[in-house]
Every structure is written in structure tokens, then in C-alpha cells.
């Protein structure tokens, strides 16, 4: 039993059959399946980050200087980019979680699960574009704007 694979009933117009005819036997699945895969991957990544994040925050109990030193690494360009990735992963997980709940509890949910997938895609982009802009602004200015 899986707790998140509840999108199968509404999956219509699958391209499974065409996939094997056109290019070998690779199972390309249905968008609903890939959203389930992505839900797992983003969930696991977020869980591992949570482990690190609680430990780095625990440094506030060691000393202010120790905490400040470690938190500086969060402000470096590469880690800053990883933070955009984290926000993107969490946002997808949240939006797709709403979709899974609607499939489970809303009578029309299974029928419109694929439409909801496109809706969360649009919402994700609409939030991530300004979100990434504000998250990366200072990093980009420092890197390319000569301080």
C-alpha cells in the first residue's frame, strides 16, 4: 500500500502504449506517476535538509559567534542557489500535497487530477520566478555588480 499513489483512477489519455511502439520499451508512465515520483524525491530531500537545519540552529545554544560563523555559509552563492532549490522542492511538495488531498477527499478530484497538475505547475512558476529573484538578488549583485 502506498499513501500517495491515489492519482491512478483519473488517469486518462495515457501515452503508455505509444511509448513502447515509438522508442523501445522504456515505461514513460503518466504525468500522475511522475508527480508521485517527484513527491517522494522532494519529500526525502526536505527531510534530510531538516536534519541538518535543526543541528545548525542548535548552535545558537553553543555561542552567538559559532552560530553566526556557520550561518554565513548559508549566504554564499552556491548554498544560496541550493536554497532556491529547497524552496522549489518544498513548494512543489506542498502544492502536490494539496492535489493529493483533493483527489482523496473531493468527489471530482480523481477526474480532474491531471488538470490540477497543470494548475500546480503554473502556480509553482508564478511563485518561483519572483521568489528566486528576491532570494538571489543580493548574491547576483555582489557577484556581478562589483559590490
Amino acid at each position: 500500500m502506498s499513501t500517495t499513489a491515489s492519482t491512478a483512477p483519473g488517469a486518462e489519455a495515457s501515452d503508455r502504449a505509444g511509448a513502447s511502439r515509438r522508442q523501445g520499451t522504456f515505461y514513460r508512465g503518466d504525468p500522475g506517476m511522475w508527480s508521485w515520483v517527484l513527491h517522494r524525491i522532494t519529500g526525502v530531500l526536505t527531510f534530510f535538509f531538516l536534519f541538518v537545519h535543526v543541528l545548525d540552529t542548535a548552535l545558537v545554544r553553543v555561542s552567538p559567534n559559532t552560530y553566526d560563523q556557520v550561518i554565513e555559509t548559508y549566504k554564499t552563492p552556491i548554498v544560496n542557489l541550493l536554497e532556491v532549490g529547497l524552496v522549489g522542492a518544498v513548494l512543489f511538495h506542498a502544492l502536490n500535497g494539496i492535489r493529493v488531498m483533493l483527489v482523496d477527499f473531493w468527489s471530482k478530484g480523481p477526474k480532474v487530477q491531471k488538470a490540477m497538475l497543470w494548475v500546480i505547475g503554473v502556480v509553482w512558476v508564478a511563485v518561483m520566478v519572483p521568489g528566486a529573484f528576491f532570494m538571489m538578488k543580493r548574491t547576483v549583485e555582489t557577484l556581478f555588480g562589483g559590490n
Binding site: G43, F51, A58, P64, Y67, G97, R138
Partner: protein, 137 residues
């Protein structure tokens, strides 16, 4: 009719009293905690990473300022417990799905539960025992 001593073929193999609803409650918990985490986590990410300079304004003093308010202490404490149990339960499902041997499954779950206990204990301790008057070094 010949009298056939046939036990009810559809009777559950285990007696009803021994069956548990654990998986049902865990399924329900994922949805309820997920709903709360949408507010808690997305709010946290918005404040810490996006608004007003984002991560660049975070330092020890910033944390001290936030935890001066019981509201944010409660926010962070609920977020910690809900996220750790929600994520831990998700990982439990994943271990059940992909571990091929019972011993692998067993040890991965031990590792998972130990890490969950560690994170919950450390995180809770830090929120409750934070000292805003700590010297810099």
C-alpha cells in the same frame, strides 16, 4: 445437504481484536499535518528566505529577536514536531517500499527512529532553553 465443516472462507485470518488501524491513522496524520505544514513551512521559508533581504539578515541576534515572542516559539516548536513526524512517516513508507530484506528494513527503520528522536530532542531543548543573554563567545 451434507454437513460440511467448512470455516467461513472470508473470515479474516487474524482475529479482529488484533488488527490495528495504525496505517489508517498514519494516512490521516499525513493529510492533517500536511495542511498545517503548508502554513507553517511556507510561512517560515517566506520570512527567512524571501522577505526583506532573506537569508542575509539572519544571525544570532535575529533568532534571539524572534524567539523573544512566544508566538514564534510555538510556531517553530509545532513546525519541528509536525515536520519531523510527517517526514519520518514518509521515510518509513519509502523504506517499506524499497528495502528488500527484512534485516535491511529493520536496521534502516532503527536508524530513522534514532535520528527522529535525536532531532526532536535537540530541537525542543534548543527552543525551550535558548538564552538571549549569552555572551558572544
Amino acid at each position: 445437504m451434507a454437513d460440511l465443516a467448512l470455516a467461513n472462507p472470508r473470515a479474516p485470518k487474524r482475529p479482529a481484536a488484533r488488527r490495528s488501524n495504525f496505517e489508517l491513522y498514519s494516512w490521516l496524520f499525513m493529510r492533517i499535518s500536511g495542511l498545517a505544514l503548508i502554513i507553517l513551512v511556507l510561512g517560515h521559508l517566506l520570512i527567512m528566505n524571501i522577505l526583506d533581504g532573506g537569508v542575509h539578515r539572519i544571525n544570532w541576534g535575529f533568532v534571539a529577536g524572534r524567539w523573544a515572542s512566544p508566538f514564534w516559539q510555538f510556531w517553530d516548536l509545532s513546525m519541528l514536531w509536525l515536520a519531523e513526524i510527517h517526514g519520518g512517516n514518509g521515510l518509513r513508507t519509502i523504506i517499506d517500499d524499497y528495502a528488500r530484506k527484512d534485516s535491511t528494513r529493520f536496521w534502516l527503520k532503527i536508524l530513522l527512529y534514532v535520528s527522529m528522536a535525536l532531532i526532536l530532542a535537540v530541537g525542543t531543548m534548543v527552543i525551550f532553553t535558548f538564552d538571549p543573554n549569552m555572551p558572544a563567545n
